[in-house]
Symmetry: C2
Subunit: 246 residues, 2 copies
DNA sequence: AAGCCTTTGTGAATACATGCACGAAGTCAC
DNA sequence: GTGACTTCGTGCATGTATTCACAAAGGCTT
């Protein structure tokens, strides 16, 4: 099964830079859009524009997968879609479980962007008895007690954690113990996992905070108004509550 | 208003690396957790562990804001919270409008992590007549026609776009024309904006695709099974639909 | 079939980020 | 006050990512 590992792909494939991997889905999306418009061939310049990157960067990124372009012409859209999909592992189906069916979990369960890319949501789990049994996006919410069973029975390989922060680490421990090695975490905590397990984090408020930083910068430096520097230290900030519900 | 731009802050502040800015919210969160546990002082080693980073990196990051630590002791939690908050611009309130009140927009409207960090949701807008008028998280959904009015009247400075992909660019153009210079985009498209406008993107499916890539890697190379390389090029991939509803 | 034109793929230069390792600066005990 | 000890702040080396710029490669026209 793992026989022909590094067969084709001479030096490509081994060690595709992370930064490149992170951009491949963006290229893929742009390519799909072109495909729908009936475009069959695209230059690095055009595709780069559609993806919002520099064309040299795009070419270098693609060169990591192999040489799939034709000089003087560009890239064949359909073929490139296939190559990137394959590289990203989207030619196979991935079985996903969503743990935590609050507002966000619900949104994720109904998100069309998953199913269309080979991600099959095979389980919705929650600890809240009031939610268990409800049907969300055509699928019943199951009790968190069944977590290990669901993972084993349905071959879940990716866990999406959308629980409150307080529950996230223990849920994570359980899915990892059950054999899951890829976790997508929406809870606002840093999860610790053993080596060999990948965790990616999506944090809705971190992005806003980064925007706020730049926005403030445009308006003229941090603490620009009122006492800047080491003024009164507020003691009211302690009322932040991390137990936000997702 | 832009008068005292680069005033205080000698060499700090100017040019805090992006990578550092992106980590500050994580540190802040870890610090809040410590604060709740009554910890008043923390070493770089401890805080780094809580934030999931290397301690040297943490110290270097913090050094960009100034020297707020005490050698031999560590950092005073409360003071550091204040300094980071100030640097990120969280000591002032930011007025946010959420455009697109589908599943995701609803989840965002109810997300506790915004309000607790100085982000005030002052408007929910949607084009769907069936949704307009509904009350979400204690706030009425208004018609998208009122977008410019809402932005102007309430002083919206950050727009959160959670519309379907097809609507995102035109919504973006409108908020930018109305004077907004910070956009958080959840729609799966690359938005183009004039210079001076910041766009950050949160893409739920991109993260999954990155996980899939690594997961596949663990299992033994891309396309490891079946015809690898340049086999049959599927023509069915064209049925991807980008008009996912958010 | 020869030459022109376009566009790729990549070497080299630059910029950015990470992590080590250690001197400097402070605290605490006595 | 003095010395031992802890921990910060940072110079330097290493690694990673981006961008430029151009030669090599192919198609297209005549």
């Amino acid at each position: 099964m793992t026989s022909r590992q590094t067969r084709n792909r001479d030096r490509a494939d081994r060690g595709i830079p992370e930064a490149t991997v992170a951009r491949l889905p963006v290229y893929l999306r742009a390519l799909h859009a072109l495909q729908e418009r009936g475009v069959s061939t695209v230059s690095s310049e055009e595709l780069a524009a559609a993806a919002g990157v520099n064309s040299a960067k795009l070419r270098k990124d693609l060169s990591h997968l192999g040489s799939y372009g034709t000089r003087g012409v560009g890239y064949e859209v359909e073929y490139l879609v296939y190559q990137i999909s394959r590289e990203l592992g989207l030619t196979q189906d991935w079985v996903v479980a969503i743990i935590g069916v609050g507002n966000l979990g619900r949104a994720l369960a109904g998100y069309g962007g998953f199913a269309s890319r080979g991600f099959r949501v095979a389980g919705l789990l929650d600890a809240d008895e009031a939610i268990v049994g409800q049907e969300i996006a055509g699928m019943p919410v199951e009790h968190i007690d069944r977590l290990e069973d669901v993972i084993a029975e349905r071959g879940v390989s990716i866990a999406v954690i959308a629980t409150p922060a307080a529950a996230a680490q223990s849920v994570c421990d359980r899915v990892v113990a059950a054999g899951v090695t890829s976790v997508l975490n929406f809870a606002p905590v840093v999860l610790s996992v053993p080596d060999g397990v990948d965790v990616r984090k999506v944090d809705l408020s971190i992005e806003l905070q980064i925007l706020a930083f730049h926005e403030q910068r445009k308006a003229g430096g941090p603490g620009g108004y009122e006492a800047a520097g080491d003024g009164d230290r507020p003691s009211e900030t302690a009322q932040y509550v991390e137990a936000v519900e997702l």
